[in-house]
Amino acid sequence: MKTTKFLMSMVIATTLFFVGCKPKDADLQAAIQAKEAAGITVAVAKGDVTLTGEVADDAAKVKAEEIAKAEKGVKSVINSLTIEQEKPVVIAEDPILTKNVADATKDFPTVKAEVKDGVVLLTGEIKKASLITLMQHLSALKPKKIDNKLTVK
């Protein structure tokens, strides 16, 4: 009898142990995942949290770790988040840029524009009210630089 009782309690204890532990990881995972920014994947094993994915900067990486650590029941956090690499700036090729600059400056007859190695050189003169419009049009063409030597009237 004694042995049976002991075995029974062992079975119950073991069951409780698994029931008590397994969903806890899943609950923790869900709770942390809900609080983390998009792009972060949360994994939990026996209370140890692992963060993977890409974030914009160091601050976001630190914040993600703090969010995980703040969750009750978390034993440790392994922060494997990486910082997104900045994409290089795209500069338009000269032939395309030259055509687009010609289109953009057509309505500004007092402005002369030259394109070389992605740099738009502006000479001539312009009315102050038109300058922003011209600059807005040119900036949308992916130039390397706008070298503005215009005389503003």
Binding site: E86, K87, P88, V89, K99, N100, A102, D103, A104, K106, K128, S130, L131, I132, T133, M135, Q136, H137, S139, A140, L141, K142, P143, K144, K145, I146, D147, N148, K149, L150, V152
Partner: protein, 140 residues
């Protein structure tokens, strides 16, 4: 990093204005700020901030490329030339023949916006061709 400091008021304004896909990058001594504004007024505001930091844009150390986002469902646009008519051309380019004109403040139909710079449009008279997108304001 000095350039980012110089234009901090501008990047702060861009963040405050809720510019989406905001990218601030420095390359070969020039700062590139790209993003999408919710409307034309937000874009113009950023240009005013830029003009305050670098009066008349003479420094040549910043390329500010903020576009105005347009809902895919938008079907009409207003002609926002200063006062003149807007040329409608056979193809996307000022070297293309003029096939029609749209009046200042006229509302025209958008047919295709697959080209960022030149939009295919149709007037109420049925004239169809390409207009310079910078002179068109999408109608909500």
């Amino acid at each position: 990093m000095a350039l980012e400091d110089k234009y901090k008021a501008l990047t702060d304004a861009a963040t405050a204005a809720g510019i989406t896909d905001l990218a601030v990058r420095e390359q070969d001594g020039i700062l590139y700020i790209d993003g999408t504004a919710a409307d034309g007024a937000t874009k113009d505001h950023l240009w005013e901030v830029y003009n305050e930091i670098d009066p008349n844009f003479t420094s040549g150390d910043l390329v500010l490329n903020v576009n105005v986002s347009i809902d895919a469902a938008v079907t009409h646009a207003k002609v926002i030339t200063q006062s003149s008519n807007l040329n409608i051309r056979k193809g996307p380019g000022t070297d293309q023949p003029i096939v029609g004109k749209a009046a200042h403040d006229e509302i025209i139909t958008l047919v295709n916006r697959s080209n960022d710079l030149w939009w295919l449009v149709r007037t109420k008279d049925g004239e169809e061709g390409y207009c310079y997108a910078q002179y068109l304001e999408a109608q909500a």
